[in-house]
Amino acid sequence: MKKIIELKNITKAFDGDVVLDHINLDIYDNEFLTLLGPSGCGKTTTLRIIGGFETADEGDVIFMGENINELPPHKRNVNTVFQRYALFPHLNVFENVAFSLREKKTPKDEINKKVTEMLALVALKGFEKRSVSSLSGGQQQRVAIARALVNQPKVLLLDEPLAALDLKLRKDMQVELKNIQKATGITFVFVTHDQEEALSMSDTVVVMSEGRIQQIGTPVDIYNEPENAFVADFIGESNILDGVMLEDRKVSFAGHVFPCVDSGFERREPVDVVVRPEDVDIVSEEKGQLRGVVTSVTFLGVHYEIIVDISGFKWMIQTTDFADVGDHVGLFIEPDAIHIMKKSKYSGMFGDYSSFSDEMDEIGEVEIQELGELETESESGHE
């Protein structure tokens, strides 16, 4: 595979806050690459540096072997789909899509042909004369994609393009985007904070946090072999515990010694132990490696989500077997379901389901903000 973009040692700070901390990333031709991370992790800044809207303080951006650090956005062979589409409100659908062609003084019939083609690709035939403000969110989204693709860029940058759509539409657009990427063969660099979206669409996922790349890999690798506690927690749900590696293939956590498949650690090295909730079996008390009490059961359609309290640590378990609140149960974990990872700065930040995980916090913040706004409004109204 051919490297199309290389980021080398990219560092960027805003007013002294380091947003990107020595990022190294290779993007290959034809791939669907996703930058995934919580808000403020630097994923959008990375995208904007590739697009030319920000300049890195340090490091190089290499585009097909050429250093493009100093190249302004309009001279780069990449195009962007912006977060809230950034369609030109004073132009209709046709003119929005034709914008870059007109800029290049393309002959009229060629413009007609290309724009028609693009609108067909995004299933917006017949919308040429409509004003963009009259379109629905999903339709605006398609116009933005058509506008960015009409130029046939080498790389398409997408900055959280689906964030403003409702769930159902988002799912449809995910499939459609993937199809467009396959049909055109253009490299997509996609930014999102939605891990499900990242896993379902990408060839390569880049997990970022606090300005650093935590892990690069295929969706399957990232899910099955998280490299540290942050990735484990951010991708899917995980029970993360402090453990001690007794010897190769033997680890102790939660007051019990488990056989595992990992090796290569120091003797008695403290480690993070990650167990996915679907990898825990609920068995009878005497058959379990661990014993505890069920504190909550939620029915989620396909499976139950069960929280089991084991000496103060709340385990999350996803299972099709039913248990009742108050039941005393045993837990059984297969050796290959236990993931051992080296201690990192994220150790101890996650793990216990008595508190919510990061993604929940993000949602929580929004709600609190909205509540706050309401409060100030009603205050000014009341006073």
Binding site: P73, H74, V78, T80, F82, H90, E103, K129, N151
Partner: protein
């Protein structure tokens, strides 16, 4: 509206328009009296159009207002773009406060302050009188600028910051991106700013009074000089003409930027496009 409200509004309107109505009526008076109407005549209008000084003042006013409003709109729009992008908080506050000064300060102080500077600088260069068309133009641009900025800045703040970026992404240089993506978005603010600057300049008396040279008389200054001496209905004729010019301009601008009309028109166009699409 309730009845009491209607009566109240009507009373206020009488208060507002009675003096104007009297102006209108007496501009057609045959005699010179301003309290007894002795018959219809266009005498005072003919007099007015024979008054070359007033006609010259009208011309001067227009020249001044057009140049001052155009220059202040270009400079003010550019300034608003710059201010909007300014990240340095201290500079931003400083610039905002300075911009506010001409709007808060009484006109008389703005006028006096500029006059003092012009006189001082003129004396420095040994000129007998430094006040001229140019000092007036500077003064008018100065007091128009804040109003232009005030109209354009909110439009820039409301605009999606990604629009100019999108234009650059699609092949525009930063300058072209401004003209193709940013300017159409802020155009309503720019136009309002231009109109405001034009009317402010047209109407200004106090600042002009202090910064005008002897040779250059604008209409408000001419009116001042006319009312200083004898009272003639010629003034009324002038006021009547101004009133109808203003009325026409207001009606035109009201009709053209009637939001609801525009929206309805847009909706109709969309519906039509949708129908065609179905076919």
């Amino acid at each position: 509206m309730k009845r009491a409200s209607k009566i109240y509004t009507a009373l206020i309107m009488i208060f507002l328009f009675a003096p104007i109505a009297i102006l209108l009526v007496f501009s057609f008076n045959r005699a010179k009296s301003l309290s007894v109407f002795s018959g219809f005549s266009l005498y005072w209008y003919r007099e007015l159009f024979r008054d070359s000084e007033t006609l010259k003042a009208v011309r001067n006013t227009l020249i001044l207002a057009v140049s001052a409003s155009l220059i202040s709109t270009v400079m003010g729009t550019a300034a608003a773009v710059g201010i909007n992008k300014l990240r340095n908080k201290f500079l931003r506050t400083a610039l905002d406060s300075v911009t506010n000064i001409p709007m808060i300060n009484p006109d008389i102080i703005t006028g006096i302050s500029l006059m003092l500077m012009f006189v001082f600088v003129g004396r420095l260069f040994g000129a007998a009188t430094s006040l001229s068309f140019w000092t007036m133009l500077i003064a008018h641009i100065t007091f128009c600028l804040p109003y232009v900025i005030l109209q354009v800045l909110p439009k820039l703040q409301q605009m999606d910051k990604a629009l100019p970026e999108a234009a650059m992404d699609l092949g525009c240089t930063p300058l072209r991106a401004f003209f193709k993506a940013e300017l159409p978005e802020i155009m309503p603010g720019v136009v309002t700013g231009l109109i405001m600057a034009f009317t402010l300049s047209l109407d200004d008396f106090v600042i002009s009074y202090f910064t005008a040279g002897n040779g250059f008389q604008t209409l408000p200054i001419r009116i001042y000089n006319m009312t200083k001496k004898t009272v003639t209905p010629k003034m009324y004729a002038l006021a009547t003409i101004i009133f109808f010019v203003i009325l026409t301009l207001l009606l035109i601008s009201n009709l053209s930027d009637d939001e609801s009309v525009r929206k309805r028109r847009e909706a109709r166009a969309n519906k039509k496009a949708a129908k065609e699409a179905v076919k």
